[in-house]
């Protein structure tokens, strides 16, 4: 069987999470922001799976299933909101969504 230590797996998960975080912080196109959020959720799931495999418990995989369902729901709603935004503002720039300000 494989002997991937937990440190390596968690390290990979944190690298992916931080790449996603940089994506959320730097992109202005709201479609890319949603994609980066997907990357972050996936990295979180990877951390759960690594921990579950390390302690030989099924709970990690159960948590991953919950994260998966949550990501699906979030993407459906987020893409619907993006469609509405594109209809009303004709752009995907997240900086135009400051109508509440004035």
């Amino acid at each position: 069987m494989v002997t991937v230590s937990m440190n390596t797996g968690l390290l990979l998960a944190s690298i992916l999470f931080l790449i996603g975080l940089v994506g959320v912080l730097t992109r202005r196109n709201i479609l890319f922001i949603l994609m980066s959020i997907e990357i972050m959720l996936n990295a979180t799931g990877l951390a759960f799976i690594v921990a579950g495999a390390h302690w030989l418990q099924a709970d990690g995989q159960v948590m991953f299933l919950f994260i998966l369902a949550m990501a699906a729901a979030e993407v459906a709603l987020g893409l619907a909101l993006i469609l509405q935004m594109h209809r009303q503002h004709k752009t995907l720039d997240s900086n135009v969504l400051n109508l509440l300000k004035d």
Partner: protein, 174 residues
């Protein structure tokens, strides 16, 4: 098998980096699919075959197809590519990258000083997972069902095409 893990991890990291740095949305989506597939291989190596299959079916299949359809509906042309390149200036991404790099160094330090007993990853098979899904986690499963139902109805409602109805105080914007 360890070598396979490291190769797959490097592919995942490179593909994810390319997702964040692309200007064309479709290219970014394709790299995101590569990243998800390699993470699925990692799940398989870690002994979670059911989760690996779900990752391919739900993430790389369903969610990414949803993204592709929306990109097709948005119909972004050459101008948006140019605009995207303009937004992607060095001064925009160097600050967050440095801060995240500091966070990453801290995390590396924490994980390296954590002495978990190495080795002994084993297969947690589907039978165990489903037994605990429908045993102690049954309330969570039902709540997830409600969440998906709500998301379906909400996405239908929000995504519907309706006429621009401004509030009467905002009429002047028309």
């Amino acid at each position: 098998m360890n070598v396979i893990f490291y190769i797959t991890a490097i592919i995942a990291i490179i593909a994810t980096l390319l997702v964040v740095t692309r200007t064309n949305a479709v290219h970014a989506l394709l790299y995101l699919i590569v990243s998800l597939l390699s993470i699925s291989v990692i799940f398989f190596i870690l002994g979670a075959p059911f989760i690996a299959a779900l990752e391919v079916i739900v993430y790389a299949g369903a969610i990414m197809i949803l993204f592709v359809f929306v990109v097709m509906m948005l119909n972004q042309g050459k101008e948006s590519l140019k605009q995207e390149k303009e937004w992607f200036k060095i001064k925009n991404w160097v600050g967050p990258s440095i801060l995240s790099l500091i966070l990453l160094i801290e995390l590396i330090y924490v994980f390296m000083s954590l002495d978990a007993p190495a080795g002994s990853t084993g297969i947690v098979d589907t039978h165990e997972v489903s037994a605990s899904l429908f045993g102690p986690y049954i309330l969570g499963v039902e709540m997830v069902a409600m969440l998906l139902m709500t998301a379906t109805v909400g996405a239908f409602h929000i995504g519907r095409e309706k006429k621009n109805e401004y509030h009467r105080y905002l009429k002047k914007e028309e």
